[in-house]
């Protein structure tokens, strides 16, 4: 499996060039360059988005779990949870959760394509990254439109 685009893979590659100092006092060691050094590209931005959306889903799933427990608990707790989810803030969070979920999903599909060993050409990986973002925004709107239509 190739990890050409992962930060750790890159850092490890850089580290192999660093020679260990031979029995001398520790001089400041060279550090591998980090985010602020690089020009922002689609693949870089989508790599970061993948982690951020994953972390957001981690927290957001607790919200949906709490809503389910409230539904299983009783009338007053359910009505409180349903009111909170139905408020403007609640709906914005749920919309954001939907986008994070679908973005993370399409980003995952992109990683599965790369895992198969294809899609590493410059134009392909840039297009895959663009598709991840545009696709997730479109899909979020479609899913909400269908769900709202069905209810």
């Amino acid at each position: 499996m190739r990890y050409l685009l992962s930060w750790n893979g890159y850092k490890e590659e850089m580290m192999t060039d660093i020679k260990a100092p031979a029995a001398r006092p520790m001089a400041p060691r060279p550090l591998s360059p980090h985010l602020e050094i690089y020009r922002v590209t689609w693949t870089m931005a989508m790599s970061i988005f993948h982690r951020i959306t994953g972390s957001a889903l981690y927290v957001g799933t607790l919200m949906i779990a709490a809503w389910l427990v409230a539904a299983a608990s009783g009338r007053s707790s359910f009505e409180t949870a349903q009111w909170a989810m139905g408020s403007l803030l609640g709906q914005l969070v749920l919309f954001g959760y939907t986008w994070a979920l679908l973005h993370h999903m399409l980003g995952g599909v992109r990683h599965l394509i790369w895992d198969s060993g294809t899609g590493y050409e410059r134009s392909t990986r840039m297009n895959l990254a663009r598709f991840t973002f545009i696709g997730s925004v479109s899909l979020t709107i479609v899913v909400w439109a269908i769900a709202l239509y069905l209810r």
Binding site: L57, A65, A72, Q82
Partner: protein
């Protein structure tokens, strides 16, 4: 020659055959992450569509929908696969950014506890509703 190869490496033949590497767990984490990712593709779409469609509905309507076998099974499948995947993903993030050994172990344990807590919350609620115990 094969004997030259053996002399040049610190790795034993057994270690090479087992293929578990320095972390002693081989590619298990990687595969579990990929397989749950594939399962999550249809399940996440079903899950979020069900949750959105229940917004603003009365308690009776929500309980009625969530107690449909197909709905309950899809929700339960996503909770199991999704939270397993979520725990693996957060483990990678912790291993990347938390460098103190004690803090890292504490964070990894907290990660497991959190995933199991959220999982049990969802499974308990879905089963209680699904079995009509409300």
């Amino acid at each position: 020659m094969a004997s030259d190869h053996v002399n040049q490496t610190m790795r034993t033949e057994m270690s090479r055959v087992k293929g578990l590497g320095a972390a002693k767990s081989g590619t298990e984490h990687f595969w579990q992450h990929r397989i749950t990712a594939i399962a999550n593709i249809p399940l996440a779409i079903a899950f979020i569509a069900i949750v959105i469609s229940l917004q603003g509905k009365s308690r009776e309507a929500v309980l009625h929908t969530l107690s449909q076998p197909l709905v309950a099974i899809l929700m339960l499948l996503f909770v199991c696969s999704g939270l397993f995947h979520m725990r693996l993903g957060m483990q990678v993030i912790i291993e990347d950014y938390v460098h103190g050994e004690a803090t890292k172990i504490a964070a990894l344990i907290a990660n497991t506890f959190f995933a199991i807590l959220v999982g049990v919350m969802c499974v308990y609620a879905l089963l209680r509703i699904g079995f009509g115990a409300i």
